[in-house]
Symmetry: D2
Subunit: 412 residues, 4 copies
């Protein structure tokens, strides 16, 4: 195998690229995009796409804003054409009339994205492009439709069926592991030695979803501890000097951290699939595992306490307060106030237990006075739980947690 | 490594599937599709998708027709909603108003396809589903809009950026090689021994595009002979007893056969990219290669002669007739009559030479009295050739071929 | 990845090889061998080794014989030196004196083999060289010591710890599968379609041992059928139209064929390890498997009947005769007469059952009138069985088989 | 794929191991070794080998010493048997008589090592065992013959033909990269960030030899810098803030560090092959490379100056002194005094240039006042250089270096 094959283009390739590049000289990036969208783009597409992406990569924020404005406004739909083609299609539906309508409805920027995507590395560059867009969006709401199109295409491209689940461990490439360090969002990883504690011991696992066109970029990853019994402290779980157990002796898999990696994929949800897939794979390989549970932060607890100051007695037990918050604190639409609760309950999990003193890190104290919660994934109940949660906003919880929560109510 | 890991679902997985399957009992496939499209589908999606695909797999043609009718008509756009949301969007463009419009324009069958795609193997099953659709389409034109949506999604999913180019040779898995035997469309492969002659010798190469979600299914493949000089007979090229040369001694790469493999991907074009990518890779690895050329059939020649009976003298030289046909026989829109010519000229190749007695197989005699043609891929000219071909229908040809063609004209 | 990287040597490499090759011009192969054995061989070893192997490859049988004679006699030990160094070592054992002795005892041909082995592909070429040697050996017994050295080195190089067990199935490279067709020694495989029946169905498995330096050459392979119950006919087992069962529904793994692939590795035994490793892997992946059994030919049965004509009544039941043969027919050293029996009993298996009409092929009828036998691998008994077999020549058999055998004895 | 397949033995495997382990209870390790050497070891070998290696792993130094004494003295050759079999073989050479002699000459500890090697991981454990032996050897010279046998077997097992060259870069597994940090012997790597500077930039390469039975343990590795021109300072080469060049723009490959990784493989030489293989591969992939050179320490320079105090004028130029040392300072046998010089000159390289101020690290100042040397690998000259070096101890050097060295001589 030639380990540096990609480093040098062939003479053939160079002469071809040169022909296209020469044509590109003196043309604006917008011209190149229009050329890429023309029939000409069918033959010289990958070179044109490469040129546009290279130019984009060299833009400053002002130029990016201009580029995004072009994509939004310069490649917008034509409302009249939508109406005309819709009329024709309604009157005489056919391949031709429907295609005309579908084409009228879809702004040409979507086709531009698809054509930019044809070069090696293009997918990752488009994801990075959307990250730029998201940061400009706040001050430039006129770009919103463009973001809707990005999200629409990404939802199709990053379809679950295209994702690959891969274990991440001490045998993984350094270039992937350094991203785990960078992206861990729940319990920070300080160093390579710290990372090693998360991925090397026999009772620690980590898994991520990857897209085939972005091989060395995890999209999302989950860290799992294999334990005997349900843990009640993340610091014990991650303690440096602890003794690892054999994986086959564990009865419980604890999902103690789940982190999204790509800002540019905001709004594309992977977490639900990831947890279920990992649970299924672990269960197959480690028949001793009986319980699948999280050890989760309660990020909104303290904020809520401040906001509802006085509503609950100061000396109420911490665990009861947390249980009460998880079960009773709601958003206007009736769903739980806590975002992590919404995620796991939306997945069909249930509130299993709350633990005080479970995360005594600065961050843990700040958000919830150190209290954490286990959400239980009982796969035979997930579908039912989810349906109740969606249709009636029901929060399913264990009897213990319900009783804890009720103890607050009775004091009120 | 567990080599049969996929054979048995875990207990965990089974209990989960069972819960969903029990719910599915007594529901129609259409009900399941609607459930899959509901928010419920977000959690139990993969199991529901699996159920729908399994049921589809067991359907007969009548049931498939019903299923396609449901997708076409039951999941159709609402014209009034398109008009209403377009109005709102035009008046106050925003994320919300654009999303409403985009959602109104896209029939829900597209989302159904995306959700069916989330299971392992789903992509291949959807491609097979479209193959079924194509065969029903002739008698049921009302299904045409459904096919437009399939094609739209597939063009996005099978974007060049997601395809992987892989060499196909005697080290390839048998399950892939048997597909090369099955799909070879130009010069039939009779047996495994015949296949071996195409992929094992040092001066023979074969490459295919694959999609990551359909790992053992080539989408398209091209067979290449490495030669000294441009060949003028496909039978010599494929002769059984011939002596192979060393790859590094070759000066010419001959693309002598290119075959699409997936009927369900009809209308999604890969050939143009494949030839250019293979040419670029070969040029990098074999610096001795100077010429990239096809040895192509002229499938429409004899049909055209019959149709134009008498227009050309019976005793005109065969090669002159072929040259004349390639350069002068046109469709009403001015493009070449010959489909293979349209493909290569559309890619930016030029007509390089014609050879009589070049394919003396029954098929070769039937379609062109044995005459074949070389199309030359001169990468420094491709882009220019293509543009002229698209804009002015210009057929670029070598001086020799032009002279041959002209010799006919002068006789007329 | 450069798919043809190996085809062309670098300029660097070429200039280097050229320097060595120029030196080689006009030198005999024996000279090159001596140079390779000199200190010079440490630097230019791989080029010299390549030259010697290339020259060997071009030799006819007469030249090979000369070459082997040189290796045997020209690179022989020096008896006096053995005696001298032994004396010194016995008197004052040290690193130096022992090394001198060890060096004196080992003929230089072993070092030559090791130095020839340093080039890519060298291992396979040495194995092929020994195959040549074995065929010359019959008429040239003076070469026997050379063969002893080959066998000694190969036993070390093909140590179980260096072998890799790989599944062989329809996803395996064609270049490996064609060797399965070629090497199958028990139940011939006629064609690729026939091969497919052996390796593609869900209830068929095939595994081989490979050596890392001979990646595409299986050393030995075993074919396994997964069944419900113990089969009594190889024709039913291999029937074309039969319905495959799911692997996880099987309770029995049947080793119905085991074939060595490399004549040049004669005398190096792999079969014992292979069966145990495959049994262990299958048991791990398919917990439903309870019984591990062979369906084996009885190759010596008919020959023995002819040799012992009249000793057993002609109308005795076939299965009783077979049982009697397996349990009572012995070689002079007391071990079983049947070679397949010796192999499996030597591995610690037991005679489990005999079946008439179990192999009605021409070959099966010829060797045993169609009777076959199951040897049972009960892993908790293997070690004990083996020890009894080795120390006391005890043939362990089921009560049924013992009774069958005894029925013959009582008639005598 | 089951990612933890190895973690749990199958029921089958367990019952088998249990049977053997039960037998082992109450037997000494020496008994187990003898059992492993018996015919019984052919069937239960891997379990016995596993038991012996496990027990060895738990031994303290005193027990290890006992174990090694057993291997040395308890499994020693029988001198009389050597003499007897030699006599028989000399009188009537045959397969049988030669095998008897060969068997008598080889102490049974070699067969024990081969049988211990049959379990997964055995090779690495034997290499570690020899490391233990080497540290005990100093005080227990009676173990020397055992070490000779280890070295003999390892030379055969780690034959160049079995080694695999693999690039080591930022895509390599962390478990391999951490070993690069640990084993780098020339220019220490302080941290993962430091490591990244050595393996990630486009103009840095690292390659190692691996053995298939020790997949995650490099045996030796070399670090390469791709540069324009020959560098004269290792600190500039490794500078943190430097700008990387494109690999294809380099004209020179600099081997600036080569480190052995396995103490237990002391005396088995890989470096010569490694440098030549890497040079050949780089030349193939980067045709722009014209010069292959080291940037090497001169570890013996200052020690020699102290030892020869006064022989050279204190104010002689540093580079002249270094040149003089490299060309003229000799061991009693006439070979160069400097060990690094011996290595590269023995490989056929030549002394190309010396540079003062080239390694200003504490270590560099201590060993050579910061002076370093380039050895040039001119592949068309290597074989000739080597032969002269071996036969006549000739040190080939550039005219410049010879002149520098001579300038000292003329002053003497």
């Amino acid at each position: 195998m030639s380990f540096i094959a990609d480093l040098f283009a062939s003479v053939f390739d160079r002469s071809y690229r040169k022909a296209i590049s020469d044509e590109a000289e003196g043309h604006s990036t917008i011209d190149l995009c229009l050329k890429l969208l023309s029939s000409h783009g069918e033959v010289s597409g990958s070179t044109l796409a490469r040129l546009v992406l290279d130019r984009y990569g060299a833009m400053d924020n002002t130029e990016k804003l201009q580029f995004f404005k072009f994509m939004t406004q310069g490649l917008e739909i034509d409302a009249q054409r939508v109406i005309d083609t819709l009329k024709t299609y309604s009157q005489s539906p056919s391949k031709k009339s429907y295609r005309a309508f579908a084409s009228a409805c879809e702004p040409r920027r979507q086709e531009l994205m698809r054509r930019l995507n044809q070069v090696s590395g293009g997918t990752g560059q488009l994801v990075a492009m959307r990250m730029d867009l998201l940061s400009l969006l706040r001050d430039h709401p006129l770009l919103e439709p463009l973001d809707v199109d990005f999200q629409h295409l990404f939802a199709s491209w990053f379809n679950r069926g295209f994702l690959v689940l891969r274990p991440i461990n001490w045998s993984s490439p350094a270039e992937i592991l350094e991203k785990i360090i960078a992206y861990e969002a729940v319990h920070a990883i300080d160093s390579w030695d710290d990372l090693r504690l998360r991925v090397q011991p026999a009772d620690r696992q980590c898994f991520g979803f990857f897209h085939p066109a972005m091989q060395d970029e995890p999209l999302i990853f989950v860290e799992v501890a294999l334990t005997k019994g349900t843990p009640n402290s993340v610091q014990s779980l991650l303690a440096d000097g602890r003794t690892a157990i054999n994986a086959e002796d564990a009865d419980t898999a604890v999902f103690y951290s789940i982190s999204n990696c790509q800002e540019g994929l905001a709004g594309i949800s992977f977490g639900n699939s990831l947890i279920k897939q990992v649970a299924a794979d672990l269960a197959r390989d480690l028949p001793g595992l009986k319980t699948f549970v999280t050890l989760s932060p309660i990020p909104g607890l303290n904020k809520w306490r401040v906001a509802t100051k006085g509503a609950i007695r100061e000396d109420a037990p911490k665990n009861a307060i947390a249980a009460h918050y998880l079960l009773e604190a709601k958003r206007p639409d009736g769903s739980p106030l806590d975002p992590v609760a919404r995620f796991h309950l939306g997945n069909g999990a249930m509130v299993h237990a709350v633990h005080t003193g479970a995360d005594v890190s600065a961050n843990g104290m700040k958000q919830s006075n150190g209290t954490m919660v286990n959400y239980l994934y009982d796969l035979s109940q997930i579908s039912k739980n989810h349906e109740q949660f969606v249709s009636e906003k029901t929060v399913v919880a264990s009897a213990d947690v319900r009783a804890l929560s009720a103890s607050i109510v009775s004091e009120a």
